[in-house]
């Protein structure tokens, strides 16, 4: 059970980073930490005690396998996470070009 709580701990570590950090790249890293915590959670809920990797062995069909569905979901989510992180980094590089800084306090044209 402790592992599930640690997933949540990791999620809040990421959330703390997003809220308190001032550097754009550090915010992106914190978002990635949150992302990883959700993936870890998915990997954990598919685990079954004494289960083996779900590769079918025709000789021994009665083995206990872990649940393969969350693993496929995590793979899909990782692909999506790759795309979002890449886009976020591209926007950060462009922002650095325009403002010459990574400090979020100086990037405040939009308000009201």
């Amino acid at each position: 059970m402790i592992a599930y709580y640690m997933c949540f701990g990791l999620f809040f570590v990421g959330l703390y980073g997003v809220i308190t950090r001032r550097n754009l790249v550090k915010i992106a890293i914190s978002l990635s930490i949150m992302e990883i915590s959700t993936f870890l959670f998915f990997a954990l809920i598919g685990y079954i005690d004494n289960g083996v990797a779900p590769i079918v062995n025709p000789a021994d069909p009665d083995k206990i396998y872990v649940d393969p569905l969350p693993q496929t979901l995590v793979l899909t989510a990782i692909v999506i996470g790759l795309a979002t992180t890449a886009l976020l980094m591209a926007v950060i590089i462009r922002l650095y070009r325009k403002y010459k800084t990574f400090d979020i306090r100086e990037i405040n044209e939009l308000r009201g």
């Binding site: 990797a53 590769i55 079918v56 025709p58 793979l75 990782i78 692909v79 790759l82 890449a86 980094m89 591209a90 590089i93 462009r94 070009r97």
Partner: protein
């Protein structure tokens, strides 16, 4: 972007091909072992990125490379969609139908259309990860005005 020293260049030349072949191996055995299109594609893109990082390029060839890779990526995605829609024509006539013969469990040529999906997804992922790398370098190299 400048290249690195001769030692790095030679080492990269030696291992880049092997990494590429390993990526192909992971893609082709995707329906038998863990791995598949995405994992193999990322390995293949890794070998390409290694070559560019060690040897260095100039800005214009990067842009040219990016255009060509985009077309490869889009074509591979279109192939995946075509295989999926081919399910409308054969068998039970539904989208994403596995219409090829399944073969024996454990053979390299088995599992119907799954290896085809793996191959095209692998090409697509390799191209798109490579494009991400290229675009980030292009953003960095663009001379600030």
């Amino acid at each position: 972007m400048k290249g690195m020293t001769i030692i790095v260049k030679k080492t990269a030349q030696l291992i880049a091909g092997m990494i590429f072949m390993y990526g192909i191996y992971v893609i082709v055995h995707g329906h038998l072992t863990p791995g598949g299109g995405f994992a193999g594609g990322v390995i293949m893109a890794g070998s390409l990125i290694l070559v560019i990082l060690s040897h260095g390029t100039d800005f214009f060839s990067l842009v040219k490379e990016e255009m060509g890779t985009t077309i490869v990526e889009s074509a591979a995605t279109i192939c995946v969609i075509l295989i999926a829609t081919a399910g409308f024509l054969f068998g039970t006539k539904v989208f994403f139908n596995n219409f090829l013969p399944k073969g024996n469990v454990g053979d390299l040529v088995s599992a119907g259309v799954l290896p085809l999906y793996n191959i095209f997804v692998g090409i697509e992922v390799a191209a798109s990860v490579f494009i991400i790398f290229l675009s980030l370098i292009i953003f960095k190299e663009e001379s600030p005005k």
